[in-house]
Symmetry: C2
Amino acid sequence: MAITSPSLLLLLYHLLVASASWWQLTGAAYIAYNTSGGVVPGKLNVHLVPHTHDDVGWLKTIDQYYVGSYNSIQAFFYRWWRQQSDATKKAVRGLVSSGQLEFINGGWCMHDEAAVHYVDMIDQTTLGHQFLKEEFGFLPRIGWQIDPFGHSAVQAYLLGSEVGFDALYFSRIDYQDRQKRKDTKTLEVVWQGSRTLGSSAEIFTGIFPENYEPPPGDFYFEVNDKSPVIQDDPLLFDYNVQQRVDDFVAAALAQANITRTNHIMFTMGTDFKYQYANSWFRQMDKFIHYVNKDGRINVLYSTPSIYTDAKHAANEAWPLKIDDFFPYADRANGYWTGYFTSRPALKGYVRTLSSYYVAARQLEFLKGRTSSGPTTDSLGDALAIAQHHDAITGTEKQHVANDYAKRLAIGYAEAAKVVQSSLTSLTESISGSGHQMKATIYDQCPLLNISYCPPSESDIYDVKSLVVLVYNSLGWRREDIIRIPVMSDSILVVDHEGKEIESQLLPINSALLTLRNNYVEAYMGISPNVTPKYWLAIPVTVEPLGFATYFIKSAKQTGSRAAMSMVYSSQGMENAKTEIEQGNLKLQFDQDGKLTHYVNKRSLVKSSIEQAYSYYSGSTGTFIDPQASGAYIFRPSGKFPIKLEEKVPLTILEGPLIHEVHQQINSWIYQVTRIYKTKEHVEVEFIVGPIPVDDGIGKELVTQITTTINSSKTFYSDSNGRDFIKRIRDYRSDWELQVNQPEAGNYYPINLGTYIEDDTTELSILVDRAVGGTSLVDGQIELMLHRRLLHDDGKGVAESLNEKICINSKCEGLAIQGKLYIRIDPLGEGAQWRRSTGQQIYSPFLIAFSEEHGGNWSNSHVTSFSMMDSSYSLPDNVALITLQELEDGSVLLRLAHLYEVGEDKHLSKMAYIELKKMFPGKKISNITEMNLSANQERVEMEKTKLKWVVENSSSAETVLRGGLVDPSKLVVELGPMEIRTFILKFDYAHIGSIDR
Amino acid sequence: MAITSPSLLLLLYHLLVASASWWQLTGAAYIAYNTSGGVVPGKLNVHLVPHTHDDVGWLKTIDQYYVGSYNSIQAFFYRWWRQQSDATKKAVRGLVSSGQLEFINGGWCMHDEAAVHYVDMIDQTTLGHQFLKEEFGFLPRIGWQIDPFGHSAVQAYLLGSEVGFDALYFSRIDYQDRQKRKDTKTLEVVWQGSRTLGSSAEIFTGIFPENYEPPPGDFYFEVNDKSPVIQDDPLLFDYNVQQRVDDFVAAALAQANITRTNHIMFTMGTDFKYQYANSWFRQMDKFIHYVNKDGRINVLYSTPSIYTDAKHAANEAWPLKIDDFFPYADRANGYWTGYFTSRPALKGYVRTLSSYYVAARQLEFLKGRTSSGPTTDSLGDALAIAQHHDAITGTEKQHVANDYAKRLAIGYAEAAKVVQSSLTSLTESISGSGHQMKATIYDQCPLLNISYCPPSESDIYDVKSLVVLVYNSLGWRREDIIRIPVMSDSILVVDHEGKEIESQLLPINSALLTLRNNYVEAYMGISPNVTPKYWLAIPVTVEPLGFATYFIKSAKQTGSRAAMSMVYSSQGMENAKTEIEQGNLKLQFDQDGKLTHYVNKRSLVKSSIEQAYSYYSGSTGTFIDPQASGAYIFRPSGKFPIKLEEKVPLTILEGPLIHEVHQQINSWIYQVTRIYKTKEHVEVEFIVGPIPVDDGIGKELVTQITTTINSSKTFYSDSNGRDFIKRIRDYRSDWELQVNQPEAGNYYPINLGTYIEDDTTELSILVDRAVGGTSLVDGQIELMLHRRLLHDDGKGVAESLNEKICINSKCEGLAIQGKLYIRIDPLGEGAQWRRSTGQQIYSPFLIAFSEEHGGNWSNSHVTSFSMMDSSYSLPDNVALITLQELEDGSVLLRLAHLYEVGEDKHLSKMAYIELKKMFPGKKISNITEMNLSANQERVEMEKTKLKWVVENSSSAETVLRGGLVDPSKLVVELGPMEIRTFILKFDYAHIGSIDR
């Protein structure tokens, strides 16, 4: 052979060592890979768990994610399931029943664990478990919280153990914690999340060595992934079986080195994978085949259940874990504590609708569920989706946040119809009025918080009265003050007995009115044509699970009228202190307008107190570490106190019910400090924002409440609104903390509230939504209220957290309106306030409006009502958290004890609920206690749940739990922190006073 | 509802217009899409053709592409097929027989059309068609050359019509041509690629409107593609059925506007798609369902065959297209004419092995195919792959080019074993020598071109002789001169009759020796330990399809010896002209060393002639158009003549057989101008490179041969080494050319050669591999020899064409060694030289070496041989292009007429081949004429092939074709340009003189 140029006659060298015929592409080469083996005793067993993690919205909306990639092995399962043919459904059912496809977690989404309320966690998990049970008869066994950014005690004991899970798996824990656990083989533990319920609510918990992806060493096999596939055809180039087998064995041995027992799990997947499932399974088939042929270790297709059973069978004793896994840091400057506060408006909206959903389901039950709709289901669905760990967390892109809000708004609208028709039905149910009436229409005002409420903004009290119906979704009788915007000062309020009520008019401040007009236009597309002048404050009293009716009438026809607040300014009063006093509470402000003293005449607490604002400047990254502050991460570069602007004086409003001190702290912080005649706490209402960023600096706004309490580095924060967990500044109980971020590293999620204490006194603060908080100085609580940042923090969302509101195309930063509730108690007395007021904050009155023409309302309408026996209300330590009619007509009832063991000297005790009095006039024909997610009977769950051995466990523990319910007595016992779930069946032959 | 912040209560506006229940995610939503319809008469029919285009190597090697993405609907089909289970194979066979899966083109690859030789095109297509026939009984009907960068006449008539295709489809034509064709509805034509065969070899040809992708308007549905999918679930957000239907209809109408008949094709795919086929089919299902429901147009799943049949059934008359579609430009500065030359070493290697494969198959046939191997199959496979339009083109990444070369080297090595054993068998087949002999070993020297040939580099002629066996794969008796490197000047050559031959020794120049030592080390990993001193030139004479044996012996034992060349330098001869003369040819060089005159004493041609080098500087893009010169694109930014370096004089070698003039043109161009006693052309051998790029400028080296021929802007270039096509500078016959690139836009691919002519004279140049060429000045031919560029040209390869050779880690630019053949003839006499010398260049002698000990070679070996009858050789106008024993023992025979109609006054005539004399001593028991790719009988093909109506066609044409072969006479008739393909069966009962 003569070649004309030698240049590409290369690799003849290779040729010399190659058999001349191996290139020949002939002959059969089909290989049947053997993947049928299971666990092999005595060998290291690698459990391959093929999985995909599909965020229910993040960078795209949930529907965009779902529709965009059509795929049989991924989440959004419900959407997918609906669209399948019977043949596909049958095939999937086969895979589920053979164990090849296993549902894990099984919630409607994989909820966040920091910014979610336990009621929402329960509801969304119940929704998912209900679907799986109905369609597949399937009960999930495994908790799978692989992505949430830290892990809560409530997740472990309530949404884990109490649901009946045998294990819980996740990946994100502090990097220092992880290192220690690897070093000590303590990545797998038994977790007792509740101090109160202890070992009765523990769960085996596995933390992955790094993340929820395949192990290091190139084992990613999505379409377009770059990991080397196994080339096992000797007739093609680059045969690499041995090399890949060696890679795999090395990865397995490395993981075995940090794991107890001879079982390890490889999580074979990650975010949004298995779009083409074959691309993964083909490679895993080959790994199983060739690694098992190699024989050093054993590989098998597995599921988290199979893995859990293998771990259990190993009879190992596991380390004990208590408390929780907050905060989460993935590196020295990477504290994922910003998202505790990110998107406070979305967090607030979710919290508001959470309680609305509780109330609406009660009203749906009271009227009777209508299968043809409307129902509360779409609100339940939207709320469930909103609990996703890139939804409520605020870590989604803006358009995705908009989508969640849209779904919530749509869900609300349908639930509002249920509420309206239920109220219509309940109020018109006077027997005997046989003549045909026009159905009463009840309007609601979702924008009442910003004083937008068209039904009440009427000037026509001459001809008719405004009917205000107030529904109380708590199980307790309740007195409180409602506020509605009105146009006129010439009005008065009468109750359902026709008796005049002392009410108070408070001029609406211009800061709120500006917000009202702008935000109504921005979100409703409406420019309001009238502007209310006053808040009308009305003290109301409503029976448990019931309503009361009030009437606002023109005052012209009578002598008396609503009391106008006295308004004065501190401007003239140079060097004078300002003092306001209502009921038992007295507050003092100094000449600069700063709150200085708090006095409770009843409890005799006297305390100096300060409240101030500061902001952190968001880091944009440093030379050494480019980590920026962003939607997930809180990384401050400085902290700057916000001084009161001297020119703006205090404005004081005083009246018979309420005193308010208004302060324009600076151009973008407006605050009202409010005390009530009938309450012993301070209510701080703030409007913050738009946070200015013209200086190019992102800011994170905090408020500090400072006392002289000697809190010794210690404070308490709630777990998902339920148990309080002790936090110690710059300290972790599980490892020797290396402090890198003295502020961000001490932040914790707060859903209900936080408190500090010393030998004599405790300071409690409750919140109206999820926020981040800490105590950086003894005696002080700091809460983060709002964040506006200009840099992305590199965790994937690829958008800066810079929320805006736009009217037409003119945009400005988003303002947040919210409330804090502050109280100082003698030591030991705070818990009761925190728990009961906490319930009131979570479940405000549901207010509906109608009109009375001609004064004959009471003749034709029920004006007050309680579902319960008139002599009965729930015990003070018990809350009704679910009352819901299911599709089959049975009723889901959940009762929650509100106190931990030792939390309150009177209330941390067994509670008794008399169901007969809760449901007078109905006969409970059947009661079944269920697990928390109501997909199985509690006794069955207890029987089948795996028991785990804890290292060095003492047996001194006693846990107080309620006993079985005697069907004849129907008294439910609740031990501290217990939540019990029941399915009730009513015998409708015994219809009582409630018209169904 | 009271919300704590209004900010995300957005989109209530939407809510007002939305039905409250549509959000509810319940109820069945499975939709059975109706895709069962076919063509609907009277409507616009959109044929959806799902396809993927998977380059057989480009950015990754062929095996990397194949193994990396495992996929049922893609090419590399043969590799995939081997690995399938019987169940899968059965399913695929079902899809093929139902027409749901259609093989189109069906070659081993989708070959290039510019840089490929027609013999290679035929071989690779035959290989693919053979596989499809064997496995599926399937005969491809459609040519599908969607990606090659321009389209050749040979593709249309030979690899299209003569294969039996009913249509040919592709996309890449000049953008100006495309625009005119759109404007005139002439994108679909009947193409007659051959002037000679005219309408007897025409094919319906469809050019896609833009590319081979889905139409404009977002219809890409690969995993991760961004086109909006059809969201047809009314219960999810963003329902978009009507919008997407409108998009589709708009795209269809736009295409219908530029297309004749009411059938249009949407090519639903592009490069490397359908990795997850479902992602496409799911959307196409929906489009078919909803667009047909809409009713404005009709959509159907189709294939190119179905589309072609629909076009044919429309009874339309189509415009006529002749010649070809070169050059291709996709924009004003985007002429894809660089790749005609890119990677000249790879192009040369492929050409070399192409002819070696022809010869090796002859020798395999002569010995008898051994099913246990070795065979020539792996060389056939490697060559087939190398014809891919990103292989031979030079437009692949470097590592992929290396892979092609590796495959070729491996294929060569196996074929060399076939050659060796065949030669052993043929030379040892003396009957009667019954005693056991040691088998004769024949070595070959693939690096002979750079003077590396270990068998001949021996100094030991004292004890033994070097046996040189010369095989002639042409069908003609042949006299030529071979050259082998030797160590000693004290040698002589005798022929097989023992008669001494006049031979000549030529000192090997140091430029070549440097190349030799470096490249042997770089590619073989061997540092040669001896260096040959001389080329030994030996005139040899070999019978057709036969061999002759020569012996090189020590001259010491005799008086005579090989003649040493006289070597002198022009250095002393100031102002003197240099003149050399051999046989009929005389050349003159001026005092600067420039060739000036060419004289042929026989033909009396006297012509002034110049040969010079220039380089184009490769554009790196301009401000207006960033297009750079690169692997595909030729875009010069300037042209610079290379001047002779004055200090280096001519070195002249003169001897009895050959005269050579050596010139070091500059530091990186070395040239030998050579004339032979027995030849009437000038051979120019050059070593060019490394092209210097230290100045940061990429360069493209050209040589110009300039005469005074008045060529009137006209020159001729071959189509894939076969038909010559007339080219006119700055002109296209199909449209009014707008000239943007006066150099790049006039370049054409050259595989065989090019010529210019005027009233009296013609200048012909033949090449040894594919190059680009042009005539930019009347009387001048310019050829591009080498390219080294520093920028990528943005066509996807993402690598600059900067070839290097490395020894250890020291790299320099690649050098190219090659040859040009130049001749000037009286007008009308060039064709015969071009065709017959062209065959010799394509098929050089195959040389093998052995050793003779003791002078008894002739007693024990056959020393000369011809397969054919000793009185017979093929006619001068006929070439044997395939002689191959197939697996079943039958023999594939292809005979090609070498002349076009009117090309030569004596040879453009019917030729007659006597098969009985071709195969003396064998009985042809059966002869069947086949189509070109030999997968069906020619008569069947003619019967079933669709006939098309041509617009305004005249019926004056007469085409000369050979008639049916009379099996008793066995004389094959061949009309001009005809290639006829036969399957022969021999009756081995009649074994003659050839030992099988």
